[in-house]
Symmetry: C2
Subunit: 159 residues, 2 copies
Amino acid sequence: MRLSNLADYAVVTMCAAARHCGSARVSAAELAEETGLPAPTVQKLVSLLSRAGLLRATRGSGGGLQLARPAAAITLADIVEAVEGPIALTSCVEQGRHDCALEGSCNVRPHWTIVNDALRGALANVPLTQLSSPFASSEVEKQVRERVSTSLDTNGVLL
Amino acid sequence: MRLSNLADYAVVTMCAAARHCGSARVSAAELAEETGLPAPTVQKLVSLLSRAGLLRATRGSGGGLQLARPAAAITLADIVEAVEGPIALTSCVEQGRHDCALEGSCNVRPHWTIVNDALRGALANVPLTQLSSPFASSEVEKQVRERVSTSLDTNGVLL
DNA sequence: GCCAAATCAGACTGTTTCGTTCCGAATTGC
DNA sequence: GCAATTCGGAACGAAACAGTCTGATTTGGC
């Protein structure tokens, strides 16, 4: 039920990378210094994020990192999935997995599907642009709360 | 991001226990046989669930288990918290924990609070009575979907 | 064309948590 | 008082995670 530390760090790292959108190239070492995270950890993170297609890495002298997509097109769900894999509270909601012996007759499974969709929807409705907004905490919270509630209302049944 | 197996098993176990609401006492061994889970695992689960106040255990010959509260008053959130502790995606949303060095100036934290509340709300809106309903899967899913969406609408901003 | 600097990418090790199993304490019924 | 049956807590083994390190690749300057 708890998110892994790497996923949490990945969000902070992406948030820092989004601030350097103007100056195209940022090194992993710079991101480490800004975020206060250990440099090797940031290196591992940018590796995962690059493989997932969220960051674009250019090698060589003067190289660095930049967002592969506009910050508005990157959500919390993207970052979490890049680090932890598909969002699946239980193994039975994961596509292609059929370990559970009960399967068809299980009454609990449909509920997990709903809850899982709710969670993923909540994550997918927080874009990276909002994460790096410089407002005060209380102000940001107010904005996010409005955004999530309206998105839930819009999506309706699907959540 | 994934739920622990024990939490998943706990839901199945509680679901099985709810069906024996009439016959007050059920042994852990019986529950293990019905659910197909290993008997020692079920023993550990009932221990956790009893300590959390969801099950009432009576010792001695002829003893057994029974729900401590009506099934309608037990939700997925109760069961998950009994096994895994407080629902907290990140350590910064957990009460009494202040490990993060950023703390006050963190822009990400308010977002985690919102997402965490959304998750907890989704879990708290699924009572045990609904988990043990004998309908077909598709029918159950339809009911749950309606229930969750209406609850979201009711809670409005809070979720 | 070559060298050197700087970068990312993958593999490795120690630690923590999870899952499972086992054995002991307690209580009831005969 | 005895025995059977039950729960409760402690211990073991396994898997995943977090963190660190070294190597492969590319660019820029000489």
